[in-house]
């Protein structure tokens, strides 16, 4: 019953986010600030993780190709498919649920604890619009980060495959180009956009409606990470079934 009430509160929160907008002059600067905080500051970890995940996928595929009849090109093909379809959009989103999500929950939760949200409300500011809307807009740029993740992941696979002596550069590129389905890129970006909305709003919900003190801010961050991850995993299944099934 509590879960149902939370879903209802979340829906009401989303409606409030889009009501009574903040002045565009102020909103513009808030959006740029959030793009910096949520997207640019995450690029380092996204690039780092993507490179090594791509490399590991290539090595694992190479090590499992024991049948000499299977061409080595498959390493490039498998790396591309794994990175584009799952690792970049889903795996990186789970990482972002931890990094960006906990930042969102703790920053909004701290504002709640220190009465800064009450101060906004007393002034007549729509605090949900002021705090959450810029995060949603900033996260619209998340697909760009995922595009970088895809590129770096495949590059990591190429580095590990070629310099690890598993295949030649030509083999990798041949595999990379074989049986390419452009819709897979669209599928990945549709997923990414929906995950971006989830990453911006579920942590905001947990931060905004939290009660208590500093300890509860920490608990809310953990809870928000768990729920954001759960929702991403479930949506991943539904979207894959809908778009590829």
């Amino acid at each position: 019953m509590n879960y149902l009430a939370s879903v209802g509160s979340y829906a009401i929160m989303i409606r409030e986010v889009f009501k009574k907008p903040t002045k565009w002059r102020i909103m513009k600067s808030l959006i740029f600030k959030e793009i910096d905080e949520l997207i640019f500051s995450s690029l380092g970890i996204i690039i780092f993780i993507s490179f090594f995940i791509g490399a590991v996928v290539a090595i694992q595929t190479a090590l499992n190709l024991t049948n000499p009849l299977i061409p080595r090109d498959l390493i490039g093909f498998a790396t591309r498919q794994s990175v584009i379809l799952e690792f970049a959009p889903t795996f990186v989103s789970i990482i972002m649920a931890g990094k960006v999500g906990s930042y969102i929950t703790s920053s909004i939760g701290t504002m709640r604890v220190t009465e800064q949200i009450d101060a906004l409300e007393v002034m007549g500011v729509n605090s949900l619009n002021y705090l959450v809307f810029p995060k949603i807009i900033a996260m619209l740029f998340y697909p760009f980060a995922i595009a970088i993740s895809m590129y770096v992941g495949i590059f990591g696979g190429w580095m590990a495959g070629v310099f690890g002596g598993f295949l030649t550069s030509e083999n990798f590129i041949t595999g990379l180009q074989s049986d390419f389905v452009p819709f897979h890129i669209a599928y990945a970006f549709v997923k990414t956009l929906i995950f971006a909305f989830v990453i911006a709003t579920i942590p905001s919900f947990h931060g905004f409606y939290m009660k208590g003190g500093a300890l509860e801010v920490g608990k809310a961050s953990t809870t928000s990470f768990v729920w954001t991850s759960v929702v991403i995993i479930i949506l991943n299944y539904i979207l894959t079934q809908l778009l590829l099934g």
Binding site: T22, K23, R25, I26, T110, M111, T114, E115, Q116, D118, A119, E121, V122, M123, G124, V125
Partner: protein
């Protein structure tokens, strides 16, 4: 002027405010006192419009809050200034940014006009050379001054303060009390202060209301509080030996 008309407020089964009726006049510092759990904070949040009473109503300059349209409620909010217990300054903004915030949100003033106004209110609260500091870089007393400056920057009609001198040393607490009183008179605003601090009661309490278990137990001026024989009030206000002696001296002087 704020008229509170028989307001009731409950949370679940807990009946917090059980029918409070009082009036807060313009240009006066009105103090709300009472023990923890007496309903002071809920009462203040009702005055601010953050909680809506189930029964009764609150009239601002003669018009009930419930009779205001949504736009009028928003305009009314902009006529209210609030000083929170923990100052509630925005961490990510400088002192100047915090004070300028309401102007940026609700006025069409140019940057130079806003800066001029911010300089004036910061000077009024005796804060100079702190414009570019962040709240974490200034003392608790300075944070309270910034909060007061932010509360008055829009020339409010009503000023609400929740424990404005909690956590401050006695000297700074007196300075903050005096500042609030001066601003109330100077701007001719209706000020309501929630406090536990008996120094404030003696120093600036032009009208004092005492809440007990969600009811208005007593109301009067700071001079009347010396003479009252209401047991709940005397037990609360004169719980320390120092205040008991002050009261005795006052009564002796009067006799």
């Amino acid at each position: 002027m704020i008229e509170v008309r028989d307001i009731h407020k409950s949370f679940g089964n807990a009946h917090i405010l059980k029918g409070i009726t009082t009036t807060f006049e313009k240009g006066k510092t009105n103090l709300v006192i009472g023990q923890s759990g007496s309903g002071k904070t809920v009462f203040l949040k009702c005055l601010l419009g953050l909680f809506v009473p189930e029964e009764g109503g609150i009239a601002y300059d003669g018009k009930l809050y419930s009779e205001h349209t949504d736009d009028e409620k928003r305009d009314l909010r902009q006529e209210m200034g609030m000083v929170f217990q923990g100052s509630a300054l925005f961490d990510s903004m400088t002192v100047e940014g915090n004070v300028m915030f309401p102007l940026e949100m609700f006025t069409k003033q140019s940057k130079s006009e806003m800066k001029h106004r911010v300089d004036a209110v910061l000077k009024r609260v005796n804060l100079i050379d702190a414009h570019h500091k962040f709240p974490s870089e200034i003392s608790g007393g300075m944070q309270k001054r910034v909060a007061i400056a932010r509360a008055i920057v829009m020339n409010p009609k009503y000023l609400f303060c929740d424990e404005p001198n909690s956590g401050l040393d006695p000297k700074t607490a007196i300075l903050i009390d005096d500042l609030i009183k001066e601003i109330t008179e100077e701007y001719n605003i209706t000020t309501v202060i929630n406090t536990h601090d008996m120094n404030s009661v003696m120093q600036i309490g032009e009208k004092i209301i005492f809440l007990k278990d969600g009811l208005l137990e007593w109301e009067g001026t700071k001079n009347e509080i010396f003479k009252t024989d209401n047991e709940a009030v005397t037990n609360f206000v004169y719980s320390s030996d120092l205040f008991k002696k002050v009261r005795q001296m006052y009564i002796q002087e009067q006799n």
